[in-house]
Symmetry: C2
Amino acid sequence: MKKGGIYRHFASKEELAAEAFDYTREAAWNARLLHVDEKANGIEKLKQLIANFVEHRSPIAGGCPILNTAIDADDGKPVLRARVAKALRSWVGRLQAFVQQAQEQRDARPEVDPKAVTTLIVASLEGALMMSRIQRHDEAPRRVQSHLNGYLDREVGVLR
Amino acid sequence: MKKGGIYRHFASKEELAAEAFDYTREAAWNARLLHVDEKANGIEKLKQLIANFVEHRSPIAGGCPILNTAIDADDGKPVLRARVAKALRSWVGRLQAFVQQAQEQRDARPEVDPKAVTTLIVASLEGALMMSRIQRHDEAPRRVQSHLNGYLDREVGVLR
């Protein structure tokens, strides 16, 4: 382990990678919250978050930091793996709070399980992002966005 | 580049990685086809494929070879990237053929876009697999499976 330069401030290279990861994922999340209208209906807010994910992508080159780090952190990097797991929990938790808020404001049906809604949104967006990176076009995120919007209208939102 | 041993048969290490990738993804696909009942209704076949993806995972340790290779192949490895892109096209194409067959047999609605169905299935399953690797439990794949089954029943299958 090098002790000079940038490594001086971190216990290890993995620690440095973990700090860099935390920074990028916070930046990615904040960029996606920017265009969410605080006064919108709860279902609309979820749609805006999904649109931000599809349209604005990550402000950091290379796409979603969770996706990028997930594979790399899988084996033999416990510090980084723990950060990725925490980031995923944080993202799922924040989305879940949006769904619960929508239920409290009676925009979302009370019988809907916020965890189920959130898991579907995160899984399909992350998978679509991976597909778009391989395919080098954004057909998959667009199609997933359209499916999720329909799903939110038909199965999560309150019919008015 | 080493010329001895196993590298003798391949033009480069990347070529070797590409061959290994082709082998594992074919094995993964065949394992998932094993439990698909040829005589089942087209929508049932899709559900069985999804169940195989969720329950049997990959026969190769470490999960989906496309997901694993996607991130790694993203920059500076054109041979591997091309293989991953081809594998993804092949997987999407094979699933699409299942949807089209279901339409021909009048199990699926004629107005449904097979590409849209397929993209949603692949994106949400790949994303759920990534989540389950980080979370170390299979809640995400199970929830996605349940959503996809409901979606196939309500929006793709012919109401009888």
